[in-house]
């Protein structure tokens, strides 16, 4: 069985003090806790600070394009439904450039885990507003401050009836690890939006800002109650709930697509040229 050290990867190129370090720690610990070996999982990521994560751990890695994690992850899982597939993205990555894939991945409910490192800013490109940036935040590209309503990924996911919706916080490492493990154990698509400070560019949402607001959802919340989940999801201001907000178990796409449902993963099914050849008959 693997231990956290087995998930040690390359030296991170993040700024010292960045929230991503804690997310990485939680990630490695969660994978070890789940008893996975590095080669037993695939991590798909996009482009951004967040998306460098797979290089900083050990795993099969497809570090693709900015915004395009989910289509790649979806297909990998459809081809090999024995393999845990994690999609790692930034908030710009996933909710900006990749917004459409995000919407439709929730509809598909493929058993992919989506970990979004949500620092409410574009980190790697030096600090422009992201879809989750708060109103009024001033940046070089938004000198008059952000004028758009921030996107609430958690509320959006509840409205899309995503199967598993949770929010974590990099400052609460152990709880984050717990949420990662929960998402991994869940059977279906899971969104884990992870708040974390970008200490270099986001002067608004600092450790302190989060610390004053973030709290763990009480056990009394019933994640299967969609309206309650929506209410909780809307809370994002003086108080910010973390934990599992919504859960709606239903068959995954892998369990519905006839050729693979309950069968061997596609990648391990044999290819019969003879069978395929019979299809030529219909043209005679």
């Amino acid at each position: 069985m693997a231990e956290t050290v087995d998930f040690e990867g390359q030296q991170p190129a993040w700024c010292p003090g960045c929230g991503n370090f804690n997310i990485l720690k939680s990630f490695k610990a969660a994978m070890a806790e789940l008893g996975l070996q590095p080669h037993e999982l695939v991590v798909v990521s996009g482009i951004g600070q967040a998306s460098k994560l797979p290089h900083y751990t050990m795993c099969n890695t497809f570090n693709g394009l900015h915004g395009r994690t989910l289509p790649v992850a979806t297909a990998i899982r459809l081809v090999n439904h024995d393999m845990p597939v994690i999609a790692v993205a930034g908030d710009g990555d996933c909710y900006g450039e990749g917004g459409n894939h995000f919407l439709h991945a929730m509809r598909r409910n493929v058993n992919v885990k989506l970990f979004v490192h949500d620092n409410q800013i574009y980190g790697l490109t030096k600090g422009q507003a992201s879809p989750t940036s708060g109103r009024g935040m001033v940046t070089t590209a938004q000198p008059a401050g952000v004028l758009l309503e921030p996107l609430n990924p958690v509320a959006l996911a509840v409205a899309m009836d995503a199967a598993f919706v949770a929010r974590g916080y990099a400052g609460d490492r152990l709880f984050l690890q717990e949420l990662m493990a929960k998402a991994m154990r869940f059977r279906g698509f899971a969104l884990l939006d992870i708040l974390h400070p970008c200490i270099t560019f986001n002067r608004l949402n600092t450790y302190r800002w989060y610390q004053e607001r973030v709290y763990r959802i009480s056990d009394s919340h019933d994640p299967s109650d969609r309206e309650a989940a929506f209410r909780l999801a809307l809370e994002f201001g003086d108080r910010i709930p973390t934990g599992v907000i919504y859960r709606n178990e239903r068959p995954t796409l892998e369990e519905l697509v006839p050729v693979i449902a309950g069968k061997d993963p596609l990648v391990h099914q044999p290819f019969s040229r003879a069978e395929a050849e019979t299809e030529l008959k219909r043209f005679y």
Binding site: P54, N60, R68, A75, I76, H104, L280, Y284
Partner: protein, 574 residues
């Protein structure tokens, strides 16, 4: 011996029903058939037509001249009457089209009434028309009846009987009421068993036989036929077909599937390919095999969505940021489409590059008659490292430097080795790098080493006609058939040949066949393209310096019919 039947009417009137029945019956009767479609971008109304040309010898294109015109509406008469052969006939139902023609070439077949009388269903007027056409051609009734039984078997005996009765009614009506209907095509006896297959189905069959296991696409004319074909197959074969939310997703899915270890494909038209350009570059950088079907249609933008053009050649060749090798195949017929799809899969996987199958609306929908397709001629070799072979390796690096530039492609999860790749420039392990030395080695590996190897696998253009022609008709892709028949027509009076490229990129070398010598020797070299910009001519000049003496361009959304081609070439060669 040859005849052409054209069926015209509004969208939704059932042109497709009549033409597919007639086409198949003619093939089964022993003829060589060529069908082509002309459709508007609407679901009902407007004006569409299908043409069925058949002969006792192989044919490869459509003609303008029509022997039998089946007019389902008045507009068809107006639009197509001028194309009627001197002894051509028009089948119409004066009741439906609302006008009686008092001229001998107009055969009034009361299809609607006969349909009601025999089957009690107005809808079967199309079957009546198919029967009437069969009658005019003095075809045997048996193949028609058999086809109707097969076609409607799923809908129950009543439907079968109704259709057969309707067909007979049309057939008999013509026999009894049309003394002028004296087409008597000679058939081969006994009829050879042949296929009738369109370009899109041929691509689909090629993919299926190449072991394609994953197809993702967003619907777009003229590629939707491939999506539908693959979706149909997914019920019977181990193939996952996913309709993506957009084309960006479609290509990224195809790339993801390939990374995970199966052969994969996506398909679209030029406009959807625009959205795949980013993913194409990703496939290039991560060296992930992927096959992309691109059906050209007239553009820019939405253009003429249901019509044909060859306007995307340079675009497909140069699309995407950065430099990496790709394969571009432009089949000229369903037969080529089938084998070249196979070759696209093989080269994509062998060299870990994206491969494009560049088709167009004309080829997508055109039906060709073939003696058969040889599945065994599609190579299927699994180039991936899997299971034991992989596990046995001491060390695995996804992007290891090798002599050929091709690194071992392993299935992730199949062993303890990690499969790591990256859209950033990377080292042999697949991790991000920024140093100049690694970058140079990676460009050498990806581009400079692989490209010549792939080039060596490309077949030179096909020469058809004189071996040392004075006149060369040059072309690529779907103009194959019409160029070939044009050469047939012109050969008597001219020293002429066709030079046809279907394997476009990397542009085939001249070592096995010196096609440049053929061109240089010729007095006139005419490059014929369905575009305004003579894109292939520009490509050939850029790569070889050769410049054609003449260019013929058509860009009105219609394919070259044989007469058009002869006329255009005639203007040049006299």
């Amino acid at each position: 011996m040859e005849y052409s039947v054209r069926i015209g009417g509004e969208a939704g009137q059932g042109i497709q029903t009549i033409s597919s029945i007639l086409g198949k019956v003619l093939v089964r009767t022993g003829f060589h058939v060529f069908t082509h479609q002309d459709y508007m971008s609407r679901i009902r109304g407007g004006h569409n037509f299908t043409q069925i040309r058949f002969a006792d010898r192989p044919i490869a294109c459509s003609r303008r001249q029509v022997d039998i015109l089946i007019a389902l509406d008045q507009q068809t008469v107006d639009v197509h009457r001028g194309d009627l052969a001197p002894d051509g006939l028009v089948i119409h139902d004066s009741e439906t089209i609302g006008r009686k023609y008092d001229r001998p070439e107009f055969i009034d077949v009361p299809a609607r009434r006969l349909a009601m009388e025999t089957a009690g269903k107005r809808l079967m007027e199309n079957t009546v028309a198919a029967g009437a056409a069969s009658g005019m051609l003095r075809l045997e009734l048996a193949p028609l009846e058999k086809l109707l039984s097969q076609t409607f078997a799923g809908k129950g005996q009543e439907a079968v009987d109704g259709n057969i009765a309707a067909a007979r009614a049309g057939y008999d009506f013509v026999l009894n009421n049309c003394p002028r209907c004296a087409f008597t095509p000679a058939t081969s006896e006994p009829p050879a068993r042949r296929m009738l297959i369109d370009g899109n189905s041929a691509v689909g069959m090629g993919a299926l036989l190449s072991g394609c296991r994953f197809y993702a696409a967003y619907p777009m004319t003229p590629s939707t036929g491939v999506l539908n074909f693959m979706a149909g197959q997914s019920r019977r074969h181990s193939l996952v077909v996913e309709q993506a939310e957009d084309e960006i997703s479609a290509i990224n899915m195809a790339i993801g599937a390939s990374y995970a270890g199966v052969r994969s494909m996506t398909g679209t038209a030029g406009g959807g390919f625009a959205l795949m350009v980013e993913g194409l570059s990703l496939a290039g950088m991560t060296e992930t095999p992927v096959v992309i079907f691109v059906g050209q249609r007239p553009a820019p933008a939405t253009g003429l969505p249901t019509r044909t053009e060859q306007g995307d050649l340079l675009y497909v060749l140069n699309a995407a940021h950065g430099e990496f090798p790709r394969v571009v195949m432009a089949p000229g017929s369903p037969e080529q489409a089938f084998y070249l799809t196979g070759k696209a899969f093989e080269l994509a996987e062998k060299y870990q590059v994206p491969a494009v199958i560049l088709s167009d609306t004309y080829l997508a929908d055109a039906g060709w008659t073939l003696d058969g397709l040889d599945a065994a001629r599609i190579e299927y070799r699994d180039h991936r490292l899997r299971a034991d072979a992989l596990e046995r390796l001491e060390r695995y690096q996804r992007h290891a430097f090798t002599e050929s530039g091709v690194s071992p492609l392993a299935e992730p999860g199949a062993s303890r080795h990690l499969v790591v790749t990256d859209s950033d420039e990377h080292d042999e392990d697949g991790h991000i790098i920024e140093d100049a030395a690694t970058r140079i080695k990676m460009v050498d590996k990806r581009l400079r080493k692989k490209l010549p190897l792939i080039r060596a696998e490309m077949e030179p253009p096909r020469l058809y006609g004189e071996e040392r022609p004075e006149i060369v008709l040059a072309g690529w892709g779907s103009n194959y058939g019409v160029l070939k028949e044009a050469v047939d027509e012109l050969r008597e009076r001219h020293s002429i040949a066709m030079l046809h490229w279907s394997e476009i990129w990397p542009l085939p070398a001249t070592d096995r066949y010196d096609y440049l010598a053929v061109l240089r020797r010729a007095r006139r070299t005419i490059c014929i393209e369905n575009n305004a910009g003579s894109q292939f001519a520009r490509l050939l000049r850029s790569e070889t310096g050769f410049q054609f003496s003449n260019r013929v361009n058509r860009f009105d959304g219609r394919p070259f019919l044989l007469e058009d081609m002869l006329q255009e070439v005639g203007k040049i060669i006299g």
